[in-house]
């Protein structure tokens, strides 16, 4: 029997996985710039992030199309089929994470060129962002190494982001009566919410890792049926 048949197909699938997961690096870079734009109220940088989202969308389209072609021409089954199914999900997550960075960058110009109104709140947003970047890189590594335990740990890491998000909310409520400051705090709440969603997308990628490995899809946490 000929061992290691279908090498070209296997190589193509490996490349598509690398390319799809590479989308997470693009997201991580976009998030770093987004945080910098928030920290310095840098409208130009925010606009660059918005424009650059085309690269993430382009990656989505390119890998998605190639995966569909593999499905149509190579009849993948078993682990290959689960991997392709998972990658299609991951691509959607990557695309959504990119869009959340765009959402943040689109609200930055609303409050003009004034420096951030509250240092503590900016610190919280930056901490959320840093933690979310950790989630993104951990999700990528868990997928590449098919490490279900590492994937499950994303839930714990995401709890940190959620706690910071709630802290942001409390700060915004107590921000005071100044109208400009309140408006800025509102935009920061939107930013915090967007970062929190990026974290959720990272957890979703972790669930796809478990699917690839076990063949069973289970949400790590069910928002509509939370455990105590």
């Amino acid at each position: 029997m000929a061992e290691s048949a279908r090498t070209e197909y296997q190589e193509e699938l490996n490349n598509l996985e690398a390319s799809g997961l590479g989308g997470l690096d693009l997201v991580s870079a976009a998030l770093s710039r987004t945080l910098e734009a928030v920290e310095h109220q840098d409208i130009e940088l925010a606009q660059i992030v918005v424009a650059d989202d085309d690269r993430i969308d382009g990656r989505y389209l390119e890998v998605h199309q190639s995966l569909i072609t593999l499905l149509a021409t190579q009849s993948p089954v078993a682990t290959d089929l689960r991997l392709i199914s998972a990658l299609l999900h991951v691509l959607k997550n990557v695309e959504r994470m990119g869009d959340q960075c765009v959402n943040i960058c689109k609200v930055i110009p609303i409050t003009g060129n004034e420096p951030p109104a509250d240092e503590e709140m900016v610190s919280l947003i930056l901490a959320m962002g840093a933690q979310t970047r950790t989630l993104i890189s951990q999700a990528k590594r868990a997928f590449a190494e098919r490490d279900v335990e590492m994937a499950r740990d994303l839930v714990r890491q995401d709890d940190v982001v959620d706690d910071l998000n709630r802290e942001c909310f409390r700060l915004a409520l107590a921000i005071g009566d100044d109208a400009d400051k309140r408006e800025w705090a509102m935009t920061m709440m939107l930013a915090a919410r967007a970062i929190e969603r990026i974290g959720d997308n990272a957890v979703d990628i972790g669930e796809q890792v478990a699917f690839v490995v076990t063949g069973l899809f289970r949400e790590f946490e069910d928002a509509s049926h939370p455990t105590a």
């Binding site: 029997m1 000929a2 061992e3 290691s4 048949a5 279908r6 197909y9 296997q10 009849s75 993948p76 089954v77 078993a78 682990t79 290959d80 089929l81 689960r82 076990t214 063949g215």
Partner: protein
Amino acid sequence: MLGAAGTKRTAAEAGQVETTGGAVTGTSSGVAELPIGRGAKTIEARNVSLYYGDFQAVEDVTMKIEPNKVTALIGSSGCGKTTFLRALNRMHELTPGATVEGEIRLDGEDVYGAGVDPVQVRRLVGMVFQSPNPFPTMSIYENVAAGLNLNAGRMKKTEKDGVVERSLRGANLWEEVKDRLDKPGSGLSGGQQQRLCIARAIAVEPEVLLMDEPCSALDPVATLAIEDLIRELKDRYTIAIVTHNMQQAARASDLTAFFNLEKTGRPGRLVEIGPTETIFTKPEQQATEDYVSGRFG
């Protein structure tokens, strides 16, 4: 008792099958009702080993082929799947020097038991082969009736007409050939010839249908027509199909059994049997995964 399972049935039995027969009803007027199939049966192989002289082709296979389901047997060439299939209706022993160890039971009855007539076994467990093989000098009608002549020699012409029509309908061929039943079967297309062979197989009212790569000589359209037919036939029969076409196994079967051999010259073994969906999404054995993914074989 298998050997005593004759061709005569009571009216009550006939009526009972008639109500569940579906596609076999609605025949020409004045034809005696002879329902096709009397209920699919389970085939169970226990520790089956098969030999050609000194050469062991299959080693220690234990598996169940369930009624009203399609079981696909897959595996690379030489893994023993066809040999195993042929042992199920005692065709294996037709090869000189071929022997069988272990048990094969049809609804509990040992098909290799003392006193069991192999011809009777082959009537209850029909076989459709790789290449369509209608009898070349016989008409379409005679091809379908060939098995009846062997098994029920004194059947009246009107009864035979009914069985031929029902069998051709059962094989989704009636509408295409009803106006040329007296023409040679060899004049049909490949796909039609294979359906003619299926009609011939079901004319003698088997309980199990074995198919050995029934579509390997057919074009994709004829292949899909046979697969549709297989899906219909499973309502009435137990079906086992050997196929090299992985996608066919995925499309047409409910259960898939993967056979493999360690290396050339070694006997084939059953590696894994399970729901087709499981075999093609999350098989238990790495060897199965490698085979269905096309990484070897």
